[in-house]
């Protein structure tokens, strides 16, 4: 995977995370296979990674996004797929650096997707009473003392 072509400065990698009820990562991968030959893709548990020349990758990613606009999320990735400095295969297994962060955010994507749907539909924002505040130190001390 680590070819000279992938090391080219013009070559970029984008992570496409799919959080859709209607599109599967395999569907997205098939769409990419159909559309372009000059890029490399890797299917992952959360979507796909697309590597190739910048303009082609951007075009393909836009096409993928259009499959389910508000439920497909994209970000750039510094390393190309299979890069030995990040790939689990060459690092003895375990999550790759950066995976935990991605997983945390992937858990929030259904919320973000439905909020984007609402925004597009011009649903007014429901005002609420504000976030639940953290427990203050003095309150905590009072609780501890009252237990005694």
């Amino acid at each position: 995977m680590m070819t000279d072509e992938l090391q080219n400065e013009d070559t970029i990698t984008k992570i496409v995370v799919i959080s859709s009820d209607s599109i599967l990562p395999a569907d997205a991968a098939m769409r990419v296979y159909e559309s372009e030959t000059s890029i490399t893709i890797k299917e992952t548990c959360f979507g796909t990674m697309v590597t190739g020349p910048q303009d082609v990758v951007e075009r393909v990613v836009e096409e993928l996004r259009s499959l389910d606009r508000n439920h497909i999320f994209v970000k750039e990735r510094g390393f190309s797929p299979g890069d030995e400095r990040r790939c689990r295969a060459s690092r003895g297994g375990g999550p790759r650096p950066g995976f935990h962060f991605l997983r945390e955010e992937v858990n929030m994507l259904p919320m973000i997707g439905s909020a984007l749907d609402a925004y597009d539909a011009h649903v007014p924002l429901e005002k609420k009473g504000g976030r639940t505040e953290k427990l203050g130190i003095s309150t905590l001390m009072n609780i501890i003392e009252s237990e005694l």
Partner: protein, 151 residues
């Protein structure tokens, strides 16, 4: 199109939203790509050389740990380029893979010190919060100048 700095600097959600609403996200991933694809560097595997802590001196004093200054060599230029910023407060997951609470503090301090539009939000933990999170970011991004305005 404005250059929007995002914090956490590798956030998928922020990077996607900024791009979705027609701006350019300033994220750490592009800096990492630059770093690992530049030819002629001599310190594998990540090409972080003693030069980085030196470059970090622009953003942090010499007695600050080299790890902070090395990270600032990547994050600092992004802050310099920023025309707007979105900060997620209390992002506990920003400590971990990004690895350094002090760098995170310094990053947010430098952004806040800069005279640019800043939006501060918190990661959502319910659908209502999610709606507020997206609406605030979308409204903020729509308020920024786009390329069409400047031409």
């Amino acid at each position: 199109m404005s250059k929007v700095f995002i914090y956490p600097t590798n956030s998928l959600i922020l990077s996607d939203l900024v791009e979705r609403f027609g701006h350019n996200p300033l994220a750490i991933m592009s800096k990492i790509r630059e770093k690992i694809t530049t030819i002629g560097v001599d310190s594998p595997p990540l090409n972080i050389t003693p030069k980085e802590p030196e470059m970090g001196l622009k953003y942090a004093a010499v007695e600050v740990p080299a790890g902070v200054r090395g990270r600032m060599a990547l994050v600092g230029p992004l802050i310099d380029d920023a025309e707007a910023a979105i900060i997620v407060r209390d992002a506990t997951i920003a400590f971990g893979c990004m690895g350094c609470a002090r760098t995170n503090e310094l990053t947010k301090f430098l952004v806040r010190k800069k005279d640019i539009p800043i939006l501060e939000v918190e990661y959502p933990d319910s659908d209502e919060d999610g709606q507020e999170f997206v609406y605030r970011i979308a409204d903020f991004l729509k308020s920024l100048p786009t390329g069409a305005d400047t031409q």
